[in-house]
Symmetry: C2
């Protein structure tokens, strides 16, 4: 892993064509895309830029900073410098697009005041939401994207192999976390793990040991962790020292070339209490059942219900996906350029699995003595869910 | 450093009182705060919650997740569980506040669609922007906050001391970055560095060597870096190998207990070209001049102009704060719970320095052969700017 990877032109063209079909269906005249994960998906660059995609015709990439770099990275033909946002309507008109009566923006992420600014700049246009259409297009990954995700998964797999060498009694969670994170970084973790949801940003993942695994957080996931402070990302590894015979729960994202692997594995120095070992077996069984069920055409809600039902049957229903009133109501989520993509495996979700979807399944349990479970990243193929994260699934005891 | 630090009640009370004065001036009936850095500032917790601050009277913290944890962390008296956002108006009414005709929200960061939801929920209220008032209150740091910032600065200072031991010819930028980041993490770097600006998130900081320092990015700072991918945070350390006799530019944020230190230092394996050494001397001279000027009552714009003028006088004007058309138009910025706070040291900024302001000054130059400069974090005291970051300012040669 040591080269900058640029998105091929054919990928960009097919993505834009698919969005143009959605734009036509929404009866928009075009869309303006600026949020980095979307911008990268449709243009191949994450520079400070606005991408105009007309209902039909060629896109126009207007770049504030860095123009040089955007030209180098993006296969889009028409790339112009954008000295000021106010110049956008004129530039779009100059490119030959004069009818902008209905214009789509990413209104699920763009701040309210910024949207007011767009309204002022495009004073003759109705500003509408195009984020649903963008999510629909991004939902089905191309073979190229699945290969990138596979590489991200192989990076985190490698790091999991190093964990047994690092473990020692008395080290803090944050020490172990810093080693794991550095292991991913030097192998290609590009930086932030992107979340579309507001206020849900967190730092890469979790190392929690024993009772820390029962500390709930703001984060909409089954397992929290104390973090280092109530201030900034109170989640994941904290100052707690890792003891013998307690569960060491590691769950990280790994974003390589933009694509987000998500994988959790369990470790112990010594030997786990039987209850946790049993719960882990239940998690593996739930995972197996979900994977068996996951075929094209199956509704995600059905898989969720089966997971919850099986957790009950196995006697751990009260601790499935959290504890008490801090439980979350899903067992899996789409992954791609963001961590919180579709499909969501939750109650009542009618979305059917289809080839090209990529997602993480994460049956987990939380007890007062710790969190335990499994998480893997999958790609939906014609014949079923292919697992992309391949680290040893046994509880590793040192 | 090994304890969770909770905000004292007296801090929270004084902050809320100051905001209430702003709320009264804006003729609002109250404000609802949910964006994590603001929420933490006014409540002491960053859980998933909404804080209602009435124009007069006691605040009400409504918590979705984790309620237990918010109660543990926040000194606010009135804390309730919020099962659904729709319940907010009823809860606020129950707390005795019935007149919510004009309600302030953080409209500079809240996504457009989320704001529509608030509008629906508070259908009898006018939804107005309170973000300017919040920034005004947060601008002046208390002695308690300055002590927290001082601690964050001492953490990054310690990590800079380790750098000479890590440097070796042929290592990649990302290897060095992973070591630096791990050094900060295990000493207390809590996670993300918060940016208020949309689409400006980046990963902790920069390690760039030689020509990498001239690679511009989306980021609104003087120095970019290739990053590992055009996808996700194309900024900072990349795959480039570090060579002899080239500048190794390191510039990191360090967020400890929520407060953001910002510090840059220069290294070389061997010996730098004379031009870069000279430019570095110019950066130090500009820093000295800015610090001399920085007294209470002085306008930030005046300091910016003096820095730009001095860069010109010293013969490096063309390369100050970037190169060519990728230059940025500031030489410093406020730091606190976020990296992009007020005051900004830029052209025309009339804001006057005052005791309690905390900021980073960063005179830097970018040449085709690399970036070089200095950055320190300061606290404004009655008698001048006190430097809080204390690592050796010489170019360290190994």
């Amino acid at each position: 892993m040591s080269m900058m990877k640029y998105t091929p032109r054919s990928e960009i063209e097919s993505r834009i064509q698919r969005l143009q079909r959605e734009i036509a269906e929404l009866e928009l005249d075009g869309a303006i895309i600026t949020y980095h994960p979307d911008l990268f998906y449709f243009s191949g660059t994450s520079q400070n830029a606005h991408l105009f995609i007309p209902r039909t015709g060629e896109p126009l990439l207007m770049v504030k900073k860095s123009y040089t770099r955007a030209r180098h990275e993006s296969p889009i033909e028409d790339i112009v410098e954008l000295p000021s946002l106010k110049k956008m309507p004129g530039m779009i008109e100059k490119a030959g697009y004069t009818d902008l009566g209905r214009l789509g923006f990413e209104l699920d992420v763009i701040p309210y005041n910024t949207c007011l600014l767009y309204r002022k700049i495009f004073s003759d246009s109705e500003i509408l939401d195009v984020s649903g259409a963008i999510k629909n297009v991004r939902l089905i990954k191309s073979p190229y994207e699945i290969e990138l995700l596979r590489e991200a998964c192989s990076v985190i797999d490698e790091v999991y192999e190093d964990v047994p060498d690092w473990l020692r009694e008395g080290m803090t969670e944050i020490e172990l976390a810093s080693l794991f994170e550095a292991g991913m970084r030097r192998r290609g973790y590009g930086g932030c793990c992107k979340m579309r949801a507001f206020n849900q940003d967190f730092f890469l993942g979790n190392v929690v040991s024993g009772t820390s695994g029962a500390v709930a957080t703001y984060f909409d996931g089954p397992v929290g962790g104390s973090g280092l402070t109530p201030a900034n990302n109170p989640h994941g590894a904290g100052w707690k020292k890792i003891k013998r015979d307690e569960i060491i729960y590691i769950d990280y994202t790994c974003v390589v070339n933009g694509y987000t692997a998500d994988e959790a594995r369990m470790f112990v120095i010594g030997r786990l209490p039987d209850k946790l070992t049993e719960a882990y077996r239940a998690a593996l069984e739930i995972q197996r059942e979900m994977v068996d069920l996951a075929k094209p055409g199956v509704e995600c809600g059905v898989i969720y219900e089966r997971a919850v039902g099986l957790a009950d049957e196995l006697g751990f229903g009260e601790n499935f996906m959290g504890m008490g009133n801090e439980r979350v109501r899903f067992v899996g989520h789409g992954v791609g350029l963001e961590l919180d993509e579709m499909p969501v495996f939750a109650r009542g979700v009618r979305m059917q699995l289809a080839p090209g979807m990529t997602f993480a399944l994460e049956p987990k349990f939380v007890f007062p003595e710790g969190a335990i479970g499994i998480e893997n990243t999958f790609a939906m193929q014609e014949d079923g869910a292919e697992v992309l994260t391949l680290a040893n699934e046994e509880i590793i005891s040192v």
